[in-house]
């Protein structure tokens, strides 16, 4: 009897000793897009999860203690940066009691580093302009090109933390960028007929997409960033849209469909639900499918064949 028990103990010890070799880098992110890029770059060596769901407003994620628990053992935390997650991350990160991912530690990543940031305020920053982002517009993940910058950044971080698999991370990042470039060519073709077309968005989180595909941002459903629309604002914007021929209103699933539809109705246009974050709508599970659906939705709306609501 003693021999089998001894063998069993040896086997258990061997399994325990071997476990670290299979351990993934546990990566947590602010946004689903960042988790998606992290998963592509990390491949089999990484398990990535986002704290904010794709259909949740990234400005207003409740800082639930369960989020702290979720990142208690994370090796890497990828923040979207530019203060988009400033309303909840300062509670969640220290609450995790995980020294590896606190700002300044090797496992903390500000994904906005290296991104060409748009709408950086010049002059005085005042909340009279609404809930503005003083470091610039943080919704850079709506431009496919910026996700390539994030991929390179993450490959570098993963390689530093897990040097043994550095070649895999570099290779995965390269493959990600190649696929993104090929996809971008396809999306640009889809959007080409609509260069200069005016669009209205619920919040000012579409500037990177508009820049990439040559759309003109005509206005926002919100009176000012973070400030809900007033009937007067809706009426004035609708009148201006009619005059300018702007007929497409885009809104994320976490914004008021009612206000967007009301505006579109008054302007004689359509309101279309879009996902700017992966997982925001069905069929947008990763960043590629997100852009597939997003580009198709916007192109369809601008073509006048949208299934959006008036």
């Amino acid at each position: 009897m003693r021999t089998p028990i001894r063998w069993m103990l040896v086997l258990i010890a061997a399994l325990l000793a071997a476990a670290p070799a299979y351990a993934d880098l546990k990566v947590a992110t602010s946004l689903t897009d960042l988790a998606s890029v992290a998963q592509f770059v990390g491949g089999k060596h990484v398990s990535a999860q986002s704290l904010c769901r794709g259909y949740e407003d990234p400005h207003f994620v409740p800082a639930k203690p369960s989020l702290m628990k979720a990142i208690q053992h994370a090796d890497v935390f990828v923040s979207v940066g530019l203060e988009l997650d400033a309303g909840w991350l300062p509670l969640v990160l220290p609450g995790s009691r995980n020294p590896k991912i606190q700002p300044g530690a090797k496992g903390f990543v500000d994904a906005s580093e290296g991104v060409d940031v748009l709408e950086k305020p010049t002059g005085t920053v005042s909340r009279a302009e609404g809930d503005i982002h003083p470091l610039g517009n943080p919704h850079y993940y709506a431009d496919p090109k910026n996700l390539e910058v994030v991929a390179d950044h993450l490959a570098e971080v993963f390689s530093r933390l897990d040097a043994a698999n550095a070649a895999d991370y570099a290779g995965n990042a390269k493959a990600f960028k190649e696929r993104m470039e090929a996809s971008l060519e396809k999306w640009e073709k889809q959007m080409a007929p609509y260069k200069g077309a005016p669009i209205v968005t619920y919040h000012t989180n579409f500037v990177y997409f508009a820049n990439r595909f040559g759309l003109k941002l005509f206005g926002s459903v919100e009176a000012k960033p973070g400030i809900p629309p007033t009937p007067r604002h809706i009426a004035e914007l609708a009148a201006a849209m009619k005059q300018a021929g702007a007929r497409v209103v885009l809104y994320q699933p976490y914004y008021s469909a009612e206000a967007s539809r009301q505006l579109a109705g008054k302007a004689g246009g359509v309101a279309v639900a879009i996902a700017t974050e992966a997982g925001g709508l069905p069929g947008t599970d990763d960043v590629f499918s997100k852009f597939d659906v997003l580009v198709s939705s916007v192109a369809k709306a601008l073509s006048g064949k949208s299934g959006g609501s008036q």
Binding site: R53, Y55, E56, D57, H59, F60, V61, P62, A63, K64, P65, S66, M68, K69, Q72, G87, W88, P90, L91, P94, G95, S96, R97, N98, P99, Q102, P103, G104, R127, G130, D131, G226, I227, P228, P253, Y254, S256
Partner: protein, 364 residues
């Protein structure tokens, strides 16, 4: 000396002021300044039975400074300028998150007791704090100098155990608990457990328990214990427009002399807050506190006397942005001292809150 050498010397001398200016700028850089925020709170009250003037009242202004000290510590402070002209260093502490699983706090801290006791005044869900708060651990919770360690346990859900030790201090208006014994073995201590469960995508359940004990200036052991339960709903697609909070809390204060525990003030509240839209909240609360003092339960000469206080509050709040709100509240209360004094109290209140600069997010 050649002409070239002379020219170089002149050029070097002329550069000195430039270098000095650059150095001065560097020496007085403001890039490492702390994040600074300020909140101001005003209120008005109309209560016909109270001998108090009507009108708008300045309650307090709170200045928050927050910054990283070095790779090991983060500094947090809230200094409150009170309406009566006094200054209260309400919270001044440092936090360390370098120890895996543990969060360490040192300084003047708000002890981890209960749920309502963790809230800053401008984050109270109702204008009036529950009566039981001011009668047990303090209207704004238990605040004292000390040290706390909060351990996030390895259990599969969020389960946090906190232990704390504090300075022994006498009872006063802010600290109803008497921990003022000068005995060297008087080290007031706290134990707290907090559990949080995600019931589904939108709703969470939080269960908490707290215990606080120390020795008083009367040399008796004084203590407080509390239990709280909170259901909170924040629909992910409407996190900035919808939601509700159902919360209840019970607190009991007591003392022990010669092995006999004497229950003193005790009671609790249950409240329900509902978010009607991005800018509107409404709430109702019912509460009861026994053996407790309140401003309208007084004897013939106006001295507060203890009794059973029952109160109901209803309010509505307009919050045009994250940084300001106006709240209207009505409360009806009755008290009974058990000896024939049974006053009632009705109040209409208004409260305004304004925040500028950096303001850290409130706990969930």
């Amino acid at each position: 000396m050649s002409l070239r050498t002379f020219a170089c010397l002149i050029a070097a001398v002329m550069c000195v002021p430039t270098l000095a200016t650059a150095q001065t700028r560097s020496m007085f850089s403001n890039l490492a300044n702390p994040s600074i925020g300020m909140n101001a709170l005003f209120s008005g009250q109309a209560a016909h039975n109270l001998d108090q003037p009507y009108g708008l009242h300045f309650d307090e202004a709170e200045i928050s400074l927050l910054s990283v000290v070095d790779p090991y510590w983060t500094f947090v402070s809230n200094i409150v300028f009170v309406g009566d002209g006094s200054v209260d260093p309400e919270e001044i502490w440092v936090r360390n998150t370098s120890i895996p699983g543990i969060q360490l706090k040192l300084g003047k801290i708000r002890g981890m007791f209960g749920k309502h006791g963790m809230l800053h005044t401008h984050a109270f869900p109702f204008i009036q704090a529950p009566v039981i708060m001011v009668n047990t651990i303090g209207e704004e919770g238990f605040k004292d100098a000390g040290m706390e360690a909060a351990w996030l346990t390895p259990l599969p859900w969020f389960a946090e155990l906190t232990g704390g030790v504090y300075e022994g201090i006498d009872a006063d208006d802010d600290h109803p608990l008497d921990f003022g014994s000068t005995r060297h073995d008087n080290i007031p201590f706290l134990g707290h457990i907090k559990n949080q469960f995600d019931l589904n995508d939108a709703t969470t359940l939080e269960l908490g328990g707290s215990f606080l004990q120390g020795r008083g200036s009367d040399e008796f052991v004084h203590s407080a214990l509390g239990a709280d339960v909170t259901f909170r709903n924040v629909p992910p697609k409407d996190s900035n427009r919808r939601g509700w909070i159902l919360q209840g809390e019970y607190i009991q204060k007591g003392s022990r002399a010669g092995g006999t525990y004497v229950k003193e003030q005790h009671g609790g509240y249950a409240s329900f807050q509902y978010r009607l839209s991005q800018v509107w909240w409404a709430g109702v609360r019912g509460e009861q506190a026994r053996e407790s003092f309140t401003d309208f339960l007084v004897d013939d000469v106006g001295t507060p006397i203890p009794g059973k206080v029952t109160r109901g509050n209803a309010n509505i709040q307009w919050m045009p942005s994250e940084f300001s709100f106006v709240r209207f509240e009505y409360s009806h209360a009755k008290a009974d001292n058990g000896a024939g004094i049974q006053p009632t109290d009705d109040r209409f209140m208004v409260q305004m809150s304004y925040t500028i600069g950096y303001h850290p997010a409130h706990a969930y």
